[in-house]
């Protein structure tokens, strides 16, 4: 019977599987960085999306494409292992790497809990348009299953080129570029005005066209807009304003 691969993966399980897979080729600081990059990805991701995230992360770490190709089946296998087969949850090591000790973890809301309880977009406390923008682009990425490293590279390169064609301020351009490099919403430190956000969304659309073709790009943006429009924040600022 076919496994249902569309349901969100258990966070601990996906962390353990990724740790087992990555530790075969990297260790130390690189391994921890990779684990955090993966940890900060969409927590509702299904198996295939997570494997996509894994590929992007591996590429961002500079791993060779041939090595990345060998890691995909291993991760796929590791994600299907029974729970008792996993080694210990790597979260304590990851927290230690970030300098968070156990006491802090108990007393304060841990990074892990923070991730579990929040949608990435909600981390940005800003104007309604900024909040909606952050939600929209996180939805775009969760809709985006980069088929291979080349797709992601094409996306980044095109986005970079398109951003330089717009009238975005240098600071805002860098914010969007940093987001494209790490796909991490934390890079948005400052609010961006609605007009510039609109330009940024358009640049992202063109980059999606380059990476996936216009039909898929339309579909991704459409899905993301529809999902974002359902959120409470969209009542203050409609995501359609970015179109």
């Amino acid at each position: 019977m076919a496994r249902n691969t569309l349901k969100p993966l258990d966070l601990t399980k996906r962390r353990c599987a990724a740790y087992m897979t990555f530790s075969e080729v990297i260790n130390g600081e690189a391994l921890m960085r990779a684990m955090w990059m993966l940890e900060e990805r969409d927590h509702s991701a299904d198996k295939m999306t997570f494997i996509g995230f894994f590929g992007i992360t591996a590429e961002l770490l500079g791993l060779d494409n041939n090595i990345i190709t060998t890691l995909y089946p291993k991760l796929n296998r590791n994600l299907d292992l029974p729970e008792e087969s996993y080694t210990d949850d790597p979260m304590p090591q990851m927290l230690k790497f970030r300098g968070i000790n156990k006491v802090n973890r108990i007393n304060n809301q841990t990074a892990e809990q923070a991730h579990k309880t929040s949608v990435p977009a909600k981390k940005i406390k800003g104007t309604p348009e900024m909040t909606v923008f952050a939600m929209l682009i996180s939805k775009i990425i969760s809709e985006t299953k980069f088929p291979n490293g080349n797709g992601y590279s094409a996306f980044k390169e095109t986005l970079k080129e398109e951003l330089f064609k717009t009238e975005l301020s240098e600071e805002n351009r860098q914010q969007v570029l940093s987001w494209a490099n790490a796909l991490n919403l934390k890079v948005f430190k400052k609010n961006i005005v609605a007009d510039e956000l609109c330009s940024a969304v358009h640049c992202i659309y063109i980059a999606l066209c380059e990476a996936f073709g216009p039909v898929k790009a339309d579909s991704i943006l459409d899905q993301a807009i529809q999902q974002t429009a359902k959120s409470p924040a969209a009542k203050t600022f409609s995501p359609r304003n970015f179109l």
Partner: protein
């Protein structure tokens, strides 16, 4: 009961109708020349209606082949190019094409002419339809990315200048190609190739749609939003072609042969493409098949009056193959032609014109004739492509030819016309909310 009342009424009508016919029969016989003349006029007027209906076929085909967010824009281009084109052709184009010839290069009379005889006027209207057909070929190729205003201007220039000048060379009795013996019965080259080469120039200046070709060289298929609409458009074009070719006969005595060749050419075009796709392990696509039948129609247009049914079939079969091959060739060179207009009208038109020389009944495979035909084909390209390229470049410089990428993202329906094609399905991202 109702049926018998109807039958009675029908019988009465038939009785009066036949009595009238008998009463007028001697007069009709006495004026047999006038009767034939009237028949020709009536047939030409019917052909005008059929050729005009081809605009609907083009509109449906092009609209179906585009994405939903550009449906209105495509329809608008088709609807308005005949409006602008007709007026400009009547005012200037007709005079350049059929006016008094100046050294066989262009005509110079009949501008803004309102003193033509009835027969000449009917001929003018028929030619108006041809001019509009030539311009509308471009609209399909440039769909989804060309600005509406720029398109209208370019289409007007095609109808006013590019098409009539070449038309003069071929169809004016004093035109230099006509004098050489070049034959193009109903415009495979004059209308279709010229339109196809103009379309090629337009898509080269415009560039491909966003994401059509990736930088890595990947070709992305962008399906139209309504493929049955393409088939319906194909059927309507096929129907209209009976007027397009049939209306060009100089004598009704040859009408049957022309209509038969026209029909067989279309059938053979589709067959040729299907065989070729099957033999080369390509999927047998409906869109390609419809295009191939139109390619077949285009190709027999040049020699529908001088070919035998067998040679018309041969011409159509080869045009089907050329159509498939031509589309692949254009993709290889990263030329984004939304409906395949260049392959259908440009390539198949050129082949059909050559075929008219090759399969000329009673003088087949005549090297002289083929050479003249080849000269005409090359001349058509050498005239229309550079002039169209220059036109589009100039329009691009002063007006802007290509719509902005944000408009391409939103769709030209909303961006250019403030309307959406399918308002009920307005939830998609490309059909943004219209707030006036």
């Amino acid at each position: 009961m109702a049926k018998s009342a109807f039958t009675n009424r029908f019988n009465k009508f038939s009785f009066w109708f036949f009595n009238l016919l008998i009463a007028f029969a001697p007069t009709a016989q006495a004026n047999s020349t006038e009767s034939v003349f009237s028949s020709e006029i009536i047939w030409l007027a019917t052909s005008i209606a059929l050729v005009f209906f081809m605009q609907a076929g083009f509109a449906l085909l092009e609209c179906g082949a585009s994405r939903a967010k550009n449906a209105i824009n495509v329809i608008m281009k088709n609807y308005t190019d005949i409006c602008f084109g007709s007026i400009f052709f009547w005012a200037i184009g007709y005079g350049l094409m059929f006016g008094e010839s100046q050294a066989g290069l262009f005509g110079f009379s009949h501008f803004l002419d309102d003193s033509l005889s009835n027969k000449q006027t009917i001929g003018l209207v028929f030619q108006l339809m041809f001019a509009a057909t030539c311009a509308t070929i471009v609209s399909g190729a440039v769909a989804e990315r060309m600005r509406f205003v720029s398109y209208m201007l370019s289409a007007s220039i095609i109808c006013t200048l590019i098409y009539p000048i070449f038309g003069h060379w071929v169809w004016n009795p004093d035109g230099w190609l006509n004098q050489l013996g070049f034959i193009d019965f109903a415009g495979a080259t004059v209308v279709h190739s010229v339109g196809g080469w103009c379309a090629l120039a337009a898509v080269m200046v415009l560039g491909p749609r966003l994401g059509r070709f990736s930088r890595a060289g990947e070709t992305r298929y962008i399906p139209g939003h309504n493929l049955p609409m393409i088939a319906l458009g194909g059927f309507i074009l096929w129907l209209g072609w009976f007027g397009f070719n049939g209306g060009s006969v100089t004598s009704l005595n040859n009408l049957g042969n022309v209509l038969l060749n026209t029909h067989l050419g279309a059938c053979a075009g589709a067959m040729g493409a299907i065989f070729f796709m099957a033999l080369t392990n390509k999927p047998i696509m409906m869109t390609t098949t419809v295009n191939a039948s139109i390619g077949g129609l285009v190709s027999v247009t040049a020699g529908a009056d001088i070919m035998m049914p067998g040679t018309a079939i041969m011409t159509g079969l080869i045009s089907g193959i050329i159509l498939v091959w031509g589309s692949v060739l254009l993709e290889r060179y990263k030329i984004d032609d939304v409906v395949g207009a260049v392959a259908v009208h440009g390539f198949c038109g050129a082949w059909g014109t050559l075929a008219a020389g090759i399969f000329y009944t009673g003088d087949m495979f005549s090297i002289t004739r083929i050479t003249i035909q080849l000269l005409g084909v090359i001349t058509a390209f050498a005239w229309s492509f550079p002039t169209a390229y220059l036109t589009f470049k100039t329009v691009d410089k002063f007006l802007g030819l290509r719509t902005s990428s944000i408009h391409e993202q939103r769709g030209l329906d909303y961006a250019e016309h403030y309307e959406v094609g399918y308002a009920e399905f307005n939830q998609t991202v490309t059909h943004g909310e219209i707030e006036k």
